[in-house]
Chain length 339, copies 2
DNA sequence: CCGAAAAGCGACGTTTTCTGTCGTGCAGAT
DNA sequence: ATCTGCACGACAGAAAACGTCGCTTTTCGG
């Protein structure tokens, strides 16, 4: 009747089916989901009751009476045990990832990973002293660290959930100048740009307007997930939308150019041994400068990157780009040196 | 004798004690570690044998004969099950983190997190269609994407291990011009800088030289972990070392300055609602430009960042910084416009 | 207000599994 | 050759798990 080792597997499966704190499932639901995972887990519901009771004695699992049914849930949100346990190297990499993400990823989103980072801490705790890993690894930032606007945790989670479930969401949107308004949105996607999260959505107005708008998450509050399905404009595509929107001008588009630029030694050193493209070529000239050649996307980022080096980099070609830099030099000269 | 629910807990603990593929543990070792985790797991070693046998029938656990002892290990490297299972929102955040990290974190290190990303995939798989999350979230890069040099996976893992265990490591170092040499290093720390990993270490020469050097991981191969402890220079500190080294000139040092700069609307828009510092202030003037004031670190990154905006940002004060920008404008003018 | 339906829970007897113990066999170590 | 540490088969008692029955509680509908 019972298969070998079935009990342990089923208990494990149960642990995975039980949701965390804010959500919960009834005994029956757990039984059904268990069955859906693997039909071999077919047992009397009474057994499931007993297992749940036992597990809740061992693990941080709680139950609550909801009418005539019992609802079960994990009480500790961030307690994660992983099997097989992660290796120390992976834990190290995970902590590093956290450091990498801290300055660029919205804290609210990063917060969802807190459990994993904590688990890595736990794994590394045994090693030498606590926090010792900090003394052994450091990330030297390339860009300037800015403080991204903070997004409320509940907004983040509800928006993600709305996206995953393709459900509408109702939120209060505020804007610097205007009065806060309550809106019903059809979430289509999220775009991350320098720590700011934009929700791409259509608003549910009286008219069936398909106008795609952007809403910044840090200006939202009081999210309520609605049980209505998202109305998606016909043929909408997030990547296409990003390309067509000036605001996200990034345009990692198809237009490429053959860059040739002269780098002073210090500037070239900053490249490390990194490359701009697969056909990247670097040749050091007699005057000490290095000619870098690569086929790269013709983007605003490229210009920003090149300008960031200041006079340490001179764009040689394509002529079009060089002309831009000539104009840029003149504009700067006009602004700072006057005439 | 047997405590309630003991069996499941012990099985779970065993699963966590067993290492993954390349490494392995004997039956006795597992028993001892189990005991170290919790003295309540005291059982006859025979029982451990039996449990292992049973578990290996259910989980991807294998055994190998090593002399007269059996050695156990997980056969599937990246198969991760987590309890409680991560929420869909967390999985979403994890995938996003992966996207964030892809362009900036060395692939070899990111590779260590493959299992976690896979687990997130698995969790998201049920949602709508496979890979559907990609169509719902996008990260718009701020900086220019460069291709970091690739580091061999074995080098990464061994170096991390050496750091965690404070053990020496022997590697083959190659450099563009020179012949490859075999070196014994005392790893002191790693520094990540724009996708390049530097190992900070002293070399184990004949003389007890305490000269701290840098070795780039992508130029290493054939790592061998040595069973000798690291010889650490008296009073070495990684943060101090980074500060004192010009190569990592970042210097998030203590020197601050009160920046005041005028942003054109487009430039100011790029800030989103982000801030430069906690005392960040922005006031829009009549001519449309916005005056941004903030107390920030006096760093090279600040200059790069400001220069990246080109003529769209004008530094007003401090005077010292403005003078630098005047010189910068003149240098650019001289380089591009000639005289 | 009452009864049916649904869920929880205690109890019981049976089946299955777990566990300690002993004995045997094998492979290095002495 | 003998000893020692480990794996592994076997066995019997103990404990746990299971299905089942029956009772109680709660909700919901008439």
């Amino acid at each position: 009747m019972r298969k070998a080792g079935d009990t342990i597997m089923r208990s494990l499966a149960m642990l995975r089916v039980i949701p965390v704190q804010p959500r919960s499932k009834t005994t029956r639901e757990i039984g059904e989901e268990l069955l859906a995972v693997d039909p071999d887990y077919e047992v009397d519901i009474r057994s499931i009751q007993r297992s749940l009771e036992k597990l809740s004695a061992i693990f941080p699992i709680g139950s609550e009476r909801d009418g005539r049914a019992n609802r079960w849930f994990w009480t500790q949100k961030d307690a994660i045990t992983q099997i097989p346990s992660m290796s120390r190297e992976t834990a190290f990499a995970l902590k590093l990832a956290g450091e990498y993400l801290k300055p660029i990823m919205p804290p609210s989103t990063l917060g969802l990973l807190a459990g994993h980072l904590r688990a890595a801490d736990e794994m590394l705790k045994g090693e030498s002293k606590l926090g010792a890993w900090t003394r052994k690894a450091r990330i030297v930032e390339r860009g300037l660290a800015t403080i991204p606007p903070s997004v409320r945790q509940d907004v983040i989670e509800e928006v993600y959930r709305a996206l995953l479930d393709d459900q509408r969401i109702e939120v209060t949107c505020s804007a610097p100048g205007k009065r806060a308004t309550r809106r019903v949105l059809n979430p289509l996607g999220v775009v991350f740009r320098g720590g700011v999260i934009h929700l791409v959505a259509t608003e549910d107005g009286e008219e069936g307007d398909d106008e795609v708008q952007h809403f910044m998450l840090h200006r939202m509050s009081n999210p309520t997930l609605l049980a209505e399905p998202v109305q998606r404009p016909r043929g909408f595509s997030l990547s296409r939308h990003i390309k067509e929107t000036d605001e996200f001008s990034s345009d990692p588009g198809t237009v490429k150019l053959r860059l040739r630029a002269l780098f002073q030694p210090e500037a070239f050193g900053q490249l490390g041994d990194g490359k701009l493209a697969s056909d990247h070529r670097a040749t050091t000239r007699r005057d000490g400068r290095t000619l870098v050649e690569a086929t790269v996307a013709d983007s605003a980022e490229l210009r920003t990157w090149l300008m960031g080096f200041g006079a340490m980099v001179e764009v040689v070609s394509p002529k079009r780009l060089r002309n831009e830099f000539v104009e840029h030099a003149e504009a700067l000269h006009a602004a700072y040196v006057k005439k």
